[in-house]
Symmetry: C2
Subunit: 189 residues, 2 copies
DNA sequence: GTAGTAGCCTAGCTCTCCTAGGCAAACGAT
DNA sequence: ATCGTTTGCCTAGGAGAGCTAGGCTACTAC
């Protein structure tokens, strides 16, 4: 019998692709094993359990997204950087709905600390250099930006905007204009 | 044998409470049946399937949230209304994490159209009357507001803000200030 | 009081998750 | 080359979830 050559990395990659196709909630150990022509029990040699598999997808997605954003951000500043960041973020979420959804699962603190989530925070702060905000305004602004991006993408995906005909691309562009405006003139106390 | 007196409504209510305690993903037909001292098969007389149960929780939550928001909004206008809406929204999400999570599941279009989601959209538009925005700016502003609220609450819940010590209440207040500022001076083209 | 329906039951299937223990392929050392 | 040793996948099987089919019993209407 030839071996399938499984590794945690290959499994995670395949699981992430599967998530994009059928949704994270349908990423099961059994389905993944089937894709490799292997019995489900065999995967437990490489994975702790089903939850572990989903966490791995989340970490993969966080790292991938951080890469895309870093690339988009290179050499840009100010509103240009803001828009590039935002579009890279939204693009990734739309191209990889399953990966994006996986990113939303609760990571326990130490896993989260070791994840690429930290890079996101750093890059978001980098954007704000163009807007000259000091603490604690900077943190507040980072949180608002992230909220807007995540909220918009998430509502768009679950169909929260469907009841109005207005193209979401337009609303997205205006939201970025609005963010730029408010960051340029942050209402500090 | 005495009957348990099950109805779809009672089941949904109990399921929603269960969701708040253990998370939507752990709301199972079997667990719900156990709470009523009944066999799981019995619930299929009142529910189509497990997904149907979750949809019912989502619809219940949407209606409840719309009620809270409507109450909070009564007699207020302008920034006052904005803050009241936002706080009612965030409060509900924090008090009822399971219900809130259930609200995020994809509803098929006709179910969504019949849901209280519509009331949310109407109330959000009502707030904007204080800011004198006309279409399509109004739709864009509604979408941005909703994105900010949902994004913030959702990130707060999944621990997305944990890596910075700044109290989230402060950031929330500043985000509302920022929203008020940008709505007061919406950057239309 | 009896017919009919509504409400809950048991039995049983499929699927997923996961553990324990077995066997064979790959590999390093002699 | 061959002989352990490790590594990788296997079979077997149990627990629990989802769901269906069909049976029995408590109410309800007449």
């Amino acid at each position: 019998m030839a071996r399938a050559g499984l590794t945690a990395e290959r499994l995670t990659q395949a699981a992430a692709d599967l998530a994009d196709e059928v949704g994270v909630e349908n990423v099961t150990v059994a389905a993944l094993a089937r894709q490799f022509g292997v019995k489900d029990a065999s995967l437990y040699f490489h994975l702790r359990n089903a939850h572990d598999l989903r966490v791995r997808i989340a970490l993969l997605a966080l790292a991938e997204l951080a890469d895309r954003v870093a690339e988009a951000l290179a050499g840009r500043a100010g509103k240009d950087a803001l828009v590039a960041f935002a579009n890279a973020y939204r693009d990734y979420a739309r191209r990889h709905p399953g990966r994006y959804a996986a990113m939303q699962i609760d990571l326990d603190p130490e896993t989260a600390a070791a994840s690429a989530g930290i890079r996101h925070a750093e890059m978001t702060r980098a954007i704000l250099r163009g807007y000259r905000l000091s603490e604690p305004d900077q943190t507040d602004a980072v949180r608002m930006m992230h909220s807007t991006f995540h909220g918009f993408v998430s509502l768009e995906r679950t169909g929260g905007f469907r009841h109005t005909p207005r193209p979401t691309d337009e609303s997205w562009a205006r939201a970025l204009d609005a963010l730029d405006a408010v960051l340029s003139n942050w209402p500090s106390r």
